[in-house]
């Protein structure tokens, strides 16, 4: 089972869902916080759900306050960067470029893609953490020697 966990994690990196920042977070796991990455991940998805809701509401109003949208997306990009959510971060960057260009259609299109990437990452990480917990402490509380 530990091998399966390792393979799943590797595929998340190989497919570009996660970057080296995720590994930095894993390095911080220890006996005091064996589930640190899962806890940070849960915080991220709670926080990003709020931001998605704010952006959804702002876009539904149809008035396109690009400054406000850019501000929300700056926060979203920041937390996505902190957890190593590479694909989500890329969509945030694209969205902000469309904001700066005042391109409403580009913003809408990118936001749909962003929500898709965010949802995919959430499911994949939930699956990974569930398996990691089942595999036992070796995989969840690994501190480098």
């Amino acid at each position: 089972m530990q091998r399966e966990v390792a393979l799943i994690k590797q595929s998340l990196f190989d497919q570009g869902y996660l970057d080296e920042q995720f590994m930095e977070l894993e390095e911080l796991q220890d006996d005091a916080n064996p589930n640190f990455v899962e806890e940070v991940s849960a915080l991220y998805f709670k926080d990003s759900a709020r931001l998605i809701n704010n952006i959804d509401q702002a876009l539904e109003r149809g008035t396109f306050d690009f400054n406000r949208l850019d501000s929300y997306m700056h926060q979203f990009k920041g937390s996505s960067t902190s957890i190593g959510a590479s694909k989500v971060k890329a969509e945030c960057t694209t969205f902000r470029e469309y904001c700066r260009a005042g391109n409403a259609e580009g913003c809408l299109r990118t936001f749909q893609q962003l929500k898709k990437e965010h949802s995919t990452l959430r499911k994949k990480l939930e699956h990974y953490f569930q398996l990691a917990r089942q595999a036992g402490p070796k995989e969840t509380a690994r501190r480098p020697k």
Binding site: E24, L28, E39, V40, L43, D47, G78, S79, S82
Partner: protein
Amino acid sequence: MTRDQIAEELPNLAESKLTALVVDDSFVNQTIHQKLLNRLGIENDVVTNGKEAVDVYCSGRNYDLILMDMDMPIMNGIQATKRLREMGIESKIAGVTTRANEGEKKEFMEAGLNDFQEKPLTISKLLSILHKLNFYVQT
């Protein structure tokens, strides 16, 4: 990085009893930054914006190091840094932000920072801050 490796990097860190204040409105970043500081044995507190940081200092608390985010509601990192320096606060302040273009970095540095690191913060970047600010030097 193991504690032994960290101790090699900063031999006096274990005995230095440094304190730090994390100033960031993101719960994700607060959690990560606090964990990084804990890993290095640095006692720390957290506030969610620049005004809270100023208020903490007004209440008489003091910290060796402040990790200051730039974009925060109510009072941002630039405003908070300027205010703290106006108050005569000499704590080392390291700006930690995703904003990295030269103009924004310059404005933040000129507010009174001692150092600047681009997010996301890592153990290496935090060690770099501590090295740069001479926290490892035994006085």
